[in-house]
């Protein structure tokens, strides 16, 4: 019986794999979020960071991607730094490099960012033109190479938690900062240092924001957040307000990117940690990639976590 079953499953797997390989063709570049614990220095360490608490799901997930002929690459940067330090130029260069690999050349390159990684990506997309005030030539090359961005629990307008914890870190935890130094990245996550606050007005390629929402109390309005990040920040909406359920399409002129390329693509009623698929939580709505129509139906996570869950609950970028 087991032999027959194995044969049947093998046949089905081969059939699915063969069809998927013929149907799907693209590259994903995954950009991680804040990581106060370590400097992520290579693609291998970035991947390991994603996998560290994925409970093995990522491996199966990658196998599914491979069957669908989707190349998944892991971008790395020092998640302890503000986005405008070396993070954005380094990520831009990696996107260019990934786009030029044999596996990805000529194929659509989709960026999937999480949390603070989305601020880094905003910086690249918003300053891609030589006339932009913070332009870096690497931003232009990277933006040209990207098809679109999928933002998951993205920090697009700063974080009110950072407004408070930046104070706490600097004033109350000064000694501790000298050891584990989370404060610099927090500085980059304050609302006053966000792209919105610095007057950014456009993104160079479409950004589809998937907001998390879990009704915690941290931000204002209370309950309009994913436990870490306000709903309006995840969607780049420039004004504080009650936006729950307002996830269809985009909000013309209400986004800090005024060129109409930022979209509220999806709303997942999941908290910030769950947004990247931590600890076996399911995110049904994120199963399907619009680039290929690929469905990760057997594995419930798109992303794995890389930080201490308890701390993510509290600081959670």
């Amino acid at each position: 019986m087991r032999t027959y079953l194995a044969l049947v499953l093998a046949t089905v797997t081969l059939a699915v794999g063969a069809r998927a390989a013929a149907a799907a063709d693209g590259c994903f570049a995954v950009v991680h979020g804040w990581d106060w614990q370590r400097e992520i220095t290579s693609e291998a360490t970035a991947q390991a960071a994603w996998e560290s608490s994925a409970q093995g799901q990522l491996a199966a997930h990658q196998a599914s991607f491979a069957a669908a002929d989707i190349e998944v690459r892991y971008v790395h940067y020092d998640g302890r730094d503000p986005y405008w330090w070396d993070s954005a130029p380094g990520v831009a260069q990696q996107l260019v490099d990934i786009g030029g690999t044999a596996a990805c050349a000529g194929k659509p390159l989709t960026v999937v960012c999480y949390s603070m990684g989305c601020t880094v990506v905003d910086e690249i997309l918003a300053q891609a033109h030589p006339s932009d005030p913070y332009h870096d030539p690497r931003y232009a090359t990277a933006t040209a190479r990207v098809l679109e961005v999928w933002s998951v629990n993205g920090v697009h307008g700063g974080a009110e938690l950072a407004n408070t914890y930046e104070f706490v870190n600097d004033v109350l935890l000064g000694f501790v900062n000298a050891v584990w130094n989370p404060g610099n990245a927090l500085r980059g996550l304050t609302t006053g240092n966000s792209p919105r606050a610095w007057g950014y007005t456009k993104v160079g390629k479409p950004v589809f924001a998937i907001g998390g929402y879990d009704g915690w109390w941290y931000t204002d309005p209370p309950g309009e957040d994913d436990g870490v990040l306000a709903y309006h920040s995840q969607y780049g909406i420039r004004k504080i307000g009650s936006y729950y359920g307002d996830w269809r399409g985009h909000v013309p002129n209400d986004h800090w990117a005024a060129n109409g390329l930022f979209y509220n693509a999806w709303q997942a009623d999941k908290d910030h940690y769950e947004g990247k698929g931590g600890s076996g939580h399911k995110i049904k709505k994120l199963k399907t990639s619009p680039i290929t129509g690929y469905c990760n139906c057997e594995n419930d996570t798109w992303f794995s976590s890389h930080t201490n869950p308890r701390l993510v609950r509290q600081f959670g970028f």
Partner: protein, 408 residues
């Protein structure tokens, strides 16, 4: 061949296996049938609306007034929330793919240095967004947040700097009395290097505070308190408030201070070139550097028309000129003939984060009375965008993988 345990032949086992496979096929067929039967079609509005991607299913029910915070402020972790579903239908995926191509084509029409003008372009220079703290203890009476913000997003060197703060209830917006102080820190590109000054926020109608007793507190930073040369760039204000019952609130706020090394003289010239409107702005430069100019044009009646920006290195002090190119297609899309009013314009010195932003001049120039027909209606040409669109078209032509849509 010897039979191994558990793998020996037998009609019963074969029948059992075949029955199992048959059951699997039956279940799969039922899933296909049910999923197809439940797939809603796109609405006509969703399919037709430009600029709005097709949605993939019904929105979850709206919260009326937000979630309850009393016992368990965290909403359920249940994945089986009503209204959610596993994935889009085939029609929705195909509609999205079609929309993606059209959307990229729309976006590619304009260059990165000139776009149709929106309200955001002006607000990006003038708007103050309050920095709010987090709600740290959502118990009874615990929804007070400390909100702090500067009176303007940036101040020129030597200008009095007004800073506001209030403790606001996150639900009803009422303010509470508090003792509020702020510590000014220069803290953008390196470690915090100590406090520049400490200020006390007041609510007595003096020292820059507009209205006494309104619980909107104000602190004023003057050159007498802090020399302007110490206030250049992004300044962080660490604000702390102690409420009447002893509870404390914290927030970090920011403002920009300093004057760029070039200023607009107020002299502008306009002309047509290649179907676009060129606006030249004269500058007086005291410090070489990279300078960024941006401005917005409005038609008669204040109708938004076009925004443009330009950045250039100016390597010597003295007189200089920066030019904005307002893209011709924007005039066609607005459909309004001139004269056009330079609704706002401002120059900034780049090379630091954030930039040193100069004053925003409003209505500083009116162009010649150009007609829409004077401008080129041709879209921007960019091989990189062409390649992106080609890739999107390739995706559109791909067959859908199995398991993608409900029913497959």
């Amino acid at each position: 061949l010897a039979s191994r345990p558990g793998t020996g032949g037998g009609g019963a086992r074969r029948r059992l296996a075949l029955a199992g496979v048959g059951a699997l096929v039956l279940v799969a067929a039922l899933i296909v049938w049910r999923s197809r039967a439940s797939a809603p079609a796109l609405t006509a509005a969703e399919a037709a609306a430009p600029g709005v991607p097709p949605s993939w299913g019904p929105a979850p029910a709206l919260h009326a007034g937000g979630p309850a915070l009393a016992a368990d402020p965290k909403r359920g972790d249940d994945d089986d929330e009503p209204g959610l579903r596993d994935g889009p239908s085939e029609a929705e995926i195909r509609a999205f793919r079609r929309w993606r191509v059209d959307n990229l084509r729309r976006a590619a029409r304009f260059p990165g240095d000139s776009l149709p003008l929106t309200a955001r372009h002006r607000e990006a220079l003038t708007e103050v967004q309050p920095d709010r703290g987090a709600v740290t203890d959502p118990g009874p009476g615990g929804l007070d947040v400390l909100v702090a913000y500067p009176a303007r997003p940036f101040f020129q060197a030597g200008e009095p700097i007004l800073l506001h703060a209030a403790v606001v209830h996150a639900r009803d917006g009422t303010r509470s009395a508090a003792r509020i102080t702020g510590t000014l820190m220069k803290a953008i590109d390196g470690p915090h290097d100590g406090a520049l000054a400490t200020v006390t926020y007041r609510d007595d109608g003096a020292g820059g505070d507009a209205v006494a007793g309104d619980l909107l507190y104000t602190a004023q930073v003057t050159p007498a308190i802090l020399a302007p040369e110490l206030l250049v760039g992004q300044v962080e204000v660490e604000v702390s408030a102690t409420l009447a019952d002893g509870r404390e609130r914290f927030v970090v706020s920011q403002f920009r201070a300093g004057t760029p090394g070039a200023r607009l003289t107020g002299r502008f010239r306009d002309r047509l070139e290649g179907g676009h409107l060129i606006l030249e702005a004269d500058l007086a430069v005291v410090r070489p550097g990279r300078y960024h100019l941006q401005g917005g044009l409005e038609g008669p009646g204040g109708t938004p028309v076009a925004w443009a920006q330009h950045a250039e290195v100016i390597d010597a002090p003295g007189a200089a000129t920066l030019s904005l190119r307002f893209f011709g297609l924007a005039f066609h899309e607005a459909g309004i003939s001139g004269p056009y009013r330079l609704a706002f314009v401002s120059v900034a010195e780049t090379g630091r984060r954030p930039v040193l932003q100069g004053p925003v001049l409003e209505g500083a120039h009116v162009t010649a009375p150009y007609a829409v027909a004077d401008f080129s209606g041709a879209p921007h040409q960019d091989p990189a965008w062409d390649e992106t669109i080609r890739q999107a078209e390739a995706i559109e032509g791909m067959p859908l993988a199995p398991g993608v849509v409900r029913g497959r």
